[in-house]
Every structure is written in structure tokens, then in C-alpha cells.
């Protein structure tokens, strides 16, 4: 570990800033965490934000305007490692759901009223620049952001959680919501959230994106066998992770 602190930046493009807040919600260790790095830029909370060079830059939100793209490309150029923070940046999340709706269904609501607004297809950051690490989730777990920072300052490589949500859910002693007829996506969704939704009785919507090991084909079969129709399944699967399920159309036709 070198003496010099890692130069770090936290940036948001189009998003709700919830992921940035998730970092700040680490109240118990926040002041210590900030001291571990040279927090050069964090426009959400800081006034002066030099952005010439970073070791790590965390980007929240997705590309929904030409301005977003310009900012993102600059950040990529000025950083050694770019971290995709949260579901919008990583999978496209709810904004990217627009890919699955027809233009005439939404344009009259806003884009036809305000001519200056550009209608750019919302897309996750890795469709535009290279991403080195992902911290997925809507919002990402504050623990995971904390652990990530502790790893990089020790020169360790953070490892994404590729285990399904079910692993933590079973450990937490929950009953399986699929058994209760709820369309829970836990079995195909990457864990790391401590199964927070299921602990509270809500089924998993897949906000952390798919695991590399998912059995999507079987997941869809299960949902169909529980009585959910194709439209419902397609909607549910695409709400958070649609753009990361490229084989979806092929499987739905089966």
C-alpha cells in the first residue's frame, strides 16, 4: 500500500442521487472512510471539485442526455478505474424500461411540450465507456460501498457478489415467497442486499441484476406455472435488469 491516498470522485449523471446517499448513509464510519482516500470530487456534497485525474471514480445514474455522455467520457478519460454505482448505471434500471414502450405512449407527456428536451434513449454507462467494477442495486447496499472502499485502499480487488439473493434469504430464515405464489426473482438476481425486501415480506424485483449463473429459462417456467402471464413476466423481468437480459425475447417465445 503506497503512502499516497487514492484520488477518488463520486459523480452523478441522470439519476435520483439515491446511490450517492447510500454511501453517505454509512454514518457509523463515514468520517473514517472519507479519511482513507483523497476525496477530490463529490459535487453532491462538496463545493470545490477538481476533476483532472482520479484513481477511482464512482458514477451514479445513466446516460439520458448528450450532456451526460460528455461528462461520462471525461470521467472515463480522467480515471484509472471507473465504478458503476447502482442499478441505473449498471443495468439501466427503471429509466431504461423506456426501451420496452412505444414512443407515442410517452412523448406527449413531456417531449412534445418542451421542445428543448432531447429525447435520448436512456442507457447504462457500460454501453458507452468501459466499466471496471459494478456495485449494483437500487439503491446499492451501503455496506457494499463501504467494503469496496476498504478493499481498494488495501490494494485488494473487490469481487462482485454473484450468488443469488436466495443465499442470504435462506440464511435469514425466510420462507420462500415463490411458495406463497409471489413472483420473486431472488433465484436469478445477484445477492449482497441481505435479502432486505424479502425480509420485509416483499418479493425480489431483481434490482441488482442477474447472476452469471442464473437459470432464466427455468425461472420463467416457474413464473408461468404460478399463473403469471407473458406480459407480466416480461414487465417484471425488464423493470430493473431488462437491458442485461439480452436473451429474454428468445426465451419468452418458447
Amino acid at each position: 500500500m503506497s503512502e499516497e491516498k487514492l484520488k477518488v470522485g463520486f459523480y452523478g449523471i441522470t439519476g435520483c442521487a439515491g446511490c450517492l446517499l447510500s454511501f453517505i448513509f454509512n454514518e457509523d464510519e463515514l468520517l473514517d472512510l472519507v479519511k482513507l482516500v483523497d476525496l477530490k470530487a463529490f459535487p453532491f456534497v462538496k463545493e470545490v471539485n477538481p476533476s483532472d485525474s482520479f484513481d477511482y471514480v464512482f458514477v451514479e445514474g445513466l446516460v439520458a442526455s448528450n450532456e451526460d455522455l460528455k461528462v461520462l467520457k471525461e470521467l472515463r478519460e480522467n480515471s484509472k478505474f471507473l465504478v458503476s454505482l447502482g442499478a441505473c448505471a449498471s443495468t439501466g434500471c427503471v429509466p431504461a424500461y423506456r426501451h420496452y414502450t412505444l414512443k407515442e405512449n410517452y412523448e406527449h407527456l413531456l417531449y412534445k411540450k418542451i421542445k428543448e428536451l432531447e429525447d435520448v434513449n436512456p442507457t447504462p454507462v457500460d454501453m458507452h465507456v468501459k466499466v471496471d467494477y459494478y456495485i449494483p442495486g437500487c439503491p446499492p447496499s451501503k455496506e457494499e460501498i463501504k467494503t469496496f472502499i476498504k478493499k481498494i485502499v488495501r490494494g485488494l480487488q473487490p469481487k462482485p457478489n454473484d450468488n443469488p439473493v436466495c443465499v442470504e434469504c435462506r440464511r435469514n430464515g425466510n420462507e420462500c415467497l415463490l411458495e406463497h405464489g409471489k413472483p420473486c426473482l431472488g433465484p436469478i438476481t445477484a445477492g449482497g442486499c441481505n435479502s432486505v425486501c424479502i425480509n420485509g415480506g416483499f418479493e425480489c424485483w431483481g434490482c441488482r441484476g442477474p447472476t452469471t449463473d442464473m437459470n432464466l429459462d427455468l425461472m420463467i417456467k416457474i413464473l408461468k406455472s404460478k399463473g403469471f402471464d407473458d406480459k407480466f413476466i416480461q414487465d417484471r423481468l425488464t423493470t430493473f435488469a431488462g437491458l442485461k437480459l439480452p436473451m429474454l425475447e428468445k426465451i419468452m417465445k418458447k
Binding site: 464510519e29 485502499v153 450468488n163 443469488p164 443465499v167 435462506r170 437459470n215 427455468l218
Partner: protein
């Protein structure tokens, strides 16, 4: 083995006496049946076995192995609570004996031992298979308990004493556990309806295509290993403090052979990359590999991995079918 008699009219008073002596954990019926600390005799539920296994009280879900601070290591103070586990079925008692082999004989795991050593095990014998997935009779289980209640008579339980700890309990609660000339016959120890795996030898089935139907129905969700009363695999992880990166703790968590991460080594190489390999590994560990080392099958036939599987993969059916197909050839 000494046999005693507990009159059913004394049953509630007996449980109350246990509760007054120490913490009592037994199956409790909420939405599902699970092991919980009880306050009253009426909390005990014996209608069905617990959906969740009892192992979490000994092999805990999360265990701090040690704490470290600037190169100094300290082991947390290990408590050994005196507890009675009441209403354990034969499968779960045998499962404890198998985990004892792993954590108390092969290795002396202080965390497991501390949770286990002051625990008393009181069984409740199944009169018939409590679930259609049970197959304990096929697993050649042993008598392993401190006390075992047999519910074969209208007015009384017969209680077998199976260990020194059992003798202690019999003496301590002699007011309720009375002398008798009755014995539990071998016939009465059989559990009807729990013998659906007539031949559990799967040595020559590894490459059989019959496994595929199970693999295709597997989500690798790890329900089977979490609900299994014998599965004991774990993961170790260091957690450090932000105020001092040389301070923190090493924790042990339950893990599962169904995960790719479980066999991931340096350089991100995964030994059991394919779902098929992981699927078979669990069943082979339960019915083959463990036997090679300990001369007993790890699986005790409780059927939880089937009942709790979201797609009800029944490996007993799969094995039986493969055997039948082989016999036909």
C-alpha cells in the same frame, strides 16, 4: 438401555419443570414450524417436524472466529449455554451426531463444541413418516439421543435413556420419569412410510443421464443446503474497521457447494463451473464421499431438501428411476 415411563397427565408438568431448569428449544408452529425457545408447554408442536433444521444452534449462521488489532489476535469468549432441545426427530438427532463427527472428532472446533457441550437432546419418535418426502428408514439410522420419547400408548410415553446426560436428566426429573418393565421393541422403532430409497448406493451412477432432469430443474438457489440438517460448508471472510484497517474480525458464514463462488480459487478459477457438477456434488457428498471417510452416510433422510426446493427436485425419485432403468437393461 434403561426405559422409563412418563404419564401423559404429567407431560405438561414435566415440560414446565424443564423450562424452570434451563432454556428449552423445541419445534414451534408459526407460519411454518421452526425451532424456537419456548416459554410454556403449549408452545411445543409435535404434529410435524420443523421445516428449518436445528443445526443453526450449534453450527451457527455467522460466527466470529477471532478479532485482530495491529497483529494481535484475540478469540472471543465462548459461552456454553445449558439448553434442552426437545422434540427432535430421529433424522435430526442423527444429523447432530454426523456434525459432531465433523466438528468434534475430526477437528476440535471450539465454536461448535461450546454451543454443543451443555446441550441436552430429548427426542420424539415418529409414529409414521411426518412428510411424504421422508426416507429415514432407508438411511439405517442409529439410536442417538439423551432421552427419547415413544408415543405408543394412550396414557403414557415410554422414555429411553441413551447417554450419561440422559441419566442425569432421568435422575433430575425422576418425579415424572418413573420406573417401568415396559420396553420399546425393535418393531416399534420402525417408522412406516419412510423407506422410499431402497438402495442408496450411487457409486456407479455418476455418469448416468438420469441426473439431467434434476439439473434442468435446479436454480442453484441453495435452499437444499441451507435446510439440510447435516450440510456444514462455510466461508471465511475478514471485516476491517475504517478507522484502522489493521483492526477487525474474521467471520464464518454458512456457504453452499451449489454456488460457483464456493470452489473459486485464486485467479478466479472455478472447479465446479457447471450446474450439473454442483448438483451431483451435494448428493455424492451425502451418499458416497462422507461414507468413505466416516463409514456412515451423511444424509439422514429428513427430506427437507426436497420439501424446501422451489421446484421439488426429488433426488430419491431420480435415483430410484436410474436404478430401475439399469435393472431393465
Amino acid at each position: 438401555m434403561e426405559t422409563l415411563l412418563l404419564e401423559k397427565k404429567d407431560y405438561e408438568a414435566f415440560i414446565t419443570a424443564l423450562i424452570n431448569w434451563c432454556e428449552v428449544i423445541s419445534p414451534v408452529k408459526k407460519e411454518v414450524v421452526r425451532f424456537k425457545k419456548i416459554k410454556n408447554p403449549s408452545d411445543v408442536y409435535l404434529g410435524k417436524n420443523s421445516f428449518f433444521p436445528v443445526k443453526e444452534f450449534f453450527f451457527r449462521k455467522k460466527e466470529t472466529i477471532f478479532k485482530f488489532k495491529n497483529n494481535k489476535i484475540s478469540i472471543p469468549k465462548l459461552e456454553s449455554p445449558k439448553r434442552i432441545f426437545f422434540g427432535l426427530r430421529k433424522c435430526d438427532l442423527n444429523a447432530i451426531s454426523h456434525q459432531d463427527k465433523v466438528f468434534m472428532e475430526t477437528v476440535k472446533d471450539p465454536y461448535y463444541i461450546s454451543q454443543r457441550k451443555n446441550s441436552y437432546l430429548i427426542g420424539y419418535h415418529c409414529n409414521e413418516a411426518p412428510s411424504k418426502y421422508c426416507f429415514c428408514e432407508s438411511m439405517r439410522l442409529k439410536d442417538f439421543f439423551d432421552l427419547m420419547l415413544y408415543d405408543k400408548h394412550k396414557d403414557f410415553f415410554l422414555v429411553e435413556v441413551g447417554s450419561e446426560k440422559g441419566k442425569t436428566l432421568a435422575k433430575k426429573f425422576g418425579k415424572y420419569l418413573k420406573r417401568t418393565d415396559n420396553k420399546v421393541s425393535l418393531e416399534e422403532k420402525k417408522i412406516p412410510g419412510a423407506d422410499r430409497l431402497p438402495d442408496s448406493n450411487i457409486k456407479d451412477l455418476y455418469d448416468n443421464p438420469g441426473w439431467q432432469e434434476g439439473v434442468d430443474k435446479c436454480l442453484s438457489c441453495t435452499a437444499c443446503t441451507a435446510l439440510c440438517p447435516t450440510c456444514y460448508c462455510f466461508d471465511l471472510k475478514d471485516e476491517v474497521k475504517a478507522r484502522n484497517l489493521s483492526e477487525g474480525e474474521r467471520v464464518r458464514n454458512w456457504s453452499s457447494c451449489q454456488l460457483k463462488e464456493f470452489t473459486m480459487v485464486a485467479g478466479s478459477h472455478v472447479f465446479r463451473e457447471k450446474r450439473e457438477e454442483r448438483f451431483k456434488h451435494r448428493i455424492y457428498h451425502q451418499l458416497d464421499y462422507f461414507r468413505e471417510k466416516y463409514d456412515v452416510d451423511l444424509c439422514t433422510g429428513c427430506g427437507r431438501c426436497i420439501e424446501g426446493c422451489p421446484t421439488r427436485i426429488d433426488f430419491v425419485d431420480i435415483i430410484n428411476r436410474m436404478k430401475q432403468d439399469k435393472a431393465k437393461q
